[in-house]
């Protein structure tokens, strides 16, 4: 009885979380152009999607920004984690405090603060400014995923590698990095996801004429969302779902406790 209640509760919450997603998927097959009416089943929007150059360009921008910003943030963040373990406690606390600012601060404040910075620097607003902003809010996610791994590390293994004649760089890549890898990967994935889903910061740091999927949707809200957009987001969601299921299923056969899966 108690268990049934728990299951129903959990199911209701997931229904709440996933109902809008199901709605969008249904809408992507809706022959009627308006959201509020069901006009029969069609896959028309999926073929129309690939002829809609504006949407495809926004998709290209979104993916480019997500990949590049997540990649750069992963490098800077991972190096920062390595460096922070060598720091004095005081300076480490200060740096971690600064790291937390973009995570705890309101996105609108981060967005306008970066906008003011770019204006005063005289930068041209476009892909470049979006990229700089996304790297900035992505770094904390990388640091927070890598730091716990860094703390678990046994420093003696690194020293042993040095004693055995390895250079600092070799020792790092052969001994330290493999242990950090799961954290680095999940940091990258987190950063990629956050960048992909971001609207607010992009809204303030994008230039005219450059659009990501989010900003494109926002400008479409008033005149009505093009159904191709539902088709595209359904495709993205299904792709990611399948990829993540594969990643999560695959290592189950040869699971080693030392290597928890990223995410």
């Amino acid at each position: 009885m108690k268990n049934t209640a728990k299951h129903i509760y959990t199911a209701l919450i997931f229904l709440f979380l996933y109902a809008p997603i199901a709605t969008l998927m249904v809408l992507s097959f809706n022959a009627s152009k308006t959201r509020s009416k069901w006009g029969g089943f069609t896959i028309n929007w999926y073929s129309r999607l690939f002829q809609n150059e504006e949407i495809l360009e926004a998709l290209g921008n979104t993916l480019l920004i997500a990949v590049v910003s997540a990649f750069v943030a992963t490098i800077i963040g991972t190096i920062a984690c390595v460096a922070m373990t060598g720091m004095k406690k005081r300076s480490r606390t200060i740096l971690m405090g600064i790291t937390n600012i973009p995570m705890l601060n309101a996105e609108i404040v981060t967005g306008i603060s970066l906008m003011l910075l770019f204006i005063s620097m005289g930068l041209r607003f476009g892909l470049g400014t979006i990229l700089l902003s996304h790297i900035t809010f992505n770094i904390p996610y990388v640091i927070l995923s890598v730091m716990p791994r860094m703390k678990q590390l046994n420093p003696s293994t690194y020293e042993a590698a040095l004693d055995l004649g390895a250079s600092h760089v070799t020792a790092f890549f052969k001994v330290v990095f493999p242990d950090l890898l799961p954290g680095v990967l999940s940091g990258f994935l987190m950063a990629f996801t956050m960048s992909l889903d971001d609207f607010i910061i992009t809204h303030f740091t994008k230039g005219a004429g450059v659009d990501t999927l989010s900003t494109k949707i926002y400008t479409e809200v008033k005149k009505g969302i093009k159904p191709e957009m539902y088709a595209l987001s359904t495709l993205i969601f299904i792709t990611v779902l399948i990829l993540l299921l594969l990643v999560n299923m695959a290592p189950a056969k040869n699971k080693t406790p030392k290597n928890p899966k990223p995410l």
């Binding site: 809408l27 970066l114 987190m190």
Partner: protein, 272 residues
Amino acid sequence: MTSKNKWLSSPYILWSVMFIIIPLGMIFYYGLTDKTGAFTLENITAIATAEHAKALWLSLLLSIISTVICFLLAYPLAMILSNMKVNQHSFIILIFILPMWMNFLLRTLAWQTLLEKNGVINSILNFLHLPGMNIINTPYAIILGMVYNFLPFMVLPLYNVLSKIDENVLDASRDLGAGSVHTFFRIILPLSIPGIISGITMVFVPALTTFVISTLLGGSKILLIGNVIEQEFTQASNWHLGSGLSIVLMIFIILNMIASAIFDKEGEGSML
């Protein structure tokens, strides 16, 4: 590692000074000056004008209600999830992050379809001969949007702290004669405080400052403080006033940060 690695921190320090510290400084500069560059407090005191104060008050009210609802929904869920003794930590995080792969604006817009007068939910209610609800374009729809969007940020930190509680501690409590209510209030709840604080911060700040959810679900009539600031920057182009109002917002954010620094020193309540 060795102190030789100290220079390694320089790229990140440079980056954070350039893109975190200086931009925040710019907000303070703009917020505390007028168009001629002279020092003024007018942009800050502008919060007291009827229109702005109303927007701030409504934002505070809606975000506090949403945070409380999120907490009440998330705590039991986090307890249920943490008691499922399967070693599926990563899977549970995954199912809460997965919705983010469908665009946040579209997901929020989908609630319009669900909530509309002839929308999905009302059709179901009709079918069951229940009274329909008409909450689209009202503050209730905004609260629903906030709870929907930020619930994962409450569940994950709570799940994180709750799943770390040592089973032996709970056994000890029971052995010493505490009932389950007693165990909950004396052991589980106090041990989960870092997660509670972190969850509250993660929900309250974005809810307080949002302008998107109110635009999408509240119609165009309901202005939150986020909407006011956004319009100052994108339409009115009064960056000084927008910055001044942001400084006011930051006071609430900083109070939140201090609370999380006090209660969650070790970062135990982090999301990941």
